[in-house]
Amino acid sequence: MSSNWPLWEVFVRGKRGLNHVHVGSLHAPDANLAVRNARDLYTRRNEGVSIWVVPSSAITASTVDEKDPFFEPAADKVYRHPTFYRIPDDVPHL
């Protein structure tokens, strides 16, 4: 089992002006080969102009258990949205 390659997460920039977006994962022995494998696996039809690979083990995620309380602070602050404010219809450009 020692010959199993580690797992990498793959992010692809679809075209200039867009963010890199997570597209999936793959196994590769090192970062260089991960980029090459990602090209062959995830961009066979011009899906990307740039690729990032990150060892899956290097990713820290918010935990699912604390999902609700973790994101709760954003829920009760409706005044952060423009629609919270009532402006008369006859005010232009606002």
Partner: protein
């Protein structure tokens, strides 16, 4: 939270057409069923490279060879997308490969039939990939996020597979009488196995009901099979081939085609390992895996050495 509450929350999420993501809580049965289904699907893509790969070196033109190479490369890609989706459920790809080559997990029985002429390449694209598309399009809305996303990628690419097959057959049908006979012969051999790809009839399909509730499966086997028949009949007419079923006819009342009884004995035999190519397919996959062992080891050793040199 206790199990009942977790289950209720899970059921609500699925019923609301929301996706389940890798780190969410999920029932053990859901995880097990998904691993089995995604692995079987991944194995089918990987084994599915063999029947067509068989013709790469003998394709009749550079154009056909390039197309076939691209298609077989896609099958490898589809297998890898799916293995990656399965791995998000906590199983290792190496373990899945081991289960495939030891016979512990299955793959679609369609790939246990031989490809005896180049017309088979066209018919596989048209019928086998056509049936696969019918099965797979609804899975783009399956409840497990990584699986659904893999299916979206796959479906986009399968469309090329089916069209290249049909185009190949149209070319052969415009050729000599012998070429037309080759196409008809291939259709005769692949039609029934293609219908079997949708799995046993609903009445005998053990997993359908639970899988439909979990939205791992979106349509029943018989519904998808009917849809495939209805889609394929006009394509066969346009191509100028006969589908080998004397009972196949339009039913005005149902607004669908009636078709003959499928030989489920053959299906079970092939599934249980007695098909024409079962042994060969697994032996070939095992050989490829074992032949690649030194490459995997060398690449790891090289990576370790370089990391060591940098430290």
């Amino acid at each position: 939270m206790d199990n009942d509450k977790l289950t209720a929350a899970f059921d609500r999420t699925v019923a609301a057409e929301q996706r389940i993501e890798p780190r969410d809580w999920m029932p053990d049965g859901y995880r097990r069923t998904l691993i089995r289904q995604i692995a079987q699907h991944a194995h089918s893509e990987i084994i599915g490279m063999q029947p067509e790969g068989n013709w790469i070196s003998r394709a009749p033109s550079l154009r056909r060879k390039a197309i076939l190479l691209a298609k077989v490369q896609d099958e490898a890609g589809h297998g890898l997308y799916l293995y990656a989706a399965a791995e998000t459920l906590g199983i290792d790809r190496a373990e899945l490969t081991e289960k495939l080559i030891s016979g512990g997990q299955k793959y679609s029985s369609i790939f246990n039939y031989p490809t005896t002429t180049f017309a088979d390449v066209g018919v596989i694209g048209w019928l086998v990939d056509g049936a696969a598309i019918c099965n797979q399009v609804p899975l783009c809305r399956t409840s497990y996020g990584p699986y659904a996303r893999a299916m979206i990628r796959i479906c986009k690419e399968e469309s090329f597979h089916q069209r290249q097959g049909y185009e190949l057959l149209m070319t052969m049908m415009a050729g000599t009488p012998e070429q037309r006979r080759m196409v008809q012969d291939a259709v005769d051999r692949w039609w029934w196995p293609s219908l079997m790809m949708f799995g046993p009839p609903d009445a005998e399909s053990a997993n359908t009901e639970q899988s439909m509730t979990w939205r791992i499966k979106r349509n029943t086997n018989d519904d998808l099979r009917q849809k495939f028949v209805d889609m394929t009949v006009p394509q066969a007419e346009r191509l100028g081939v006969t589908l080998p079923d004397p009972d196949l006819r339009w039913n005005d009342e149902r607004g669908q085609h009636d078709f003959g009884e499928i030989d489920w004995t053959e299906f079970k035999q092939v599934l249980s390992g007695a098909g024409p190519c079962n042994v060969e397919r697994i032996a070939h996959r095992r050989q490829a895996h074992e032949d690649g062992e030194w490459v995997r080891e060398a690449a790891i050793a090289h990576a370790a050495k370089r990391t060591g040199a940098m430290a």
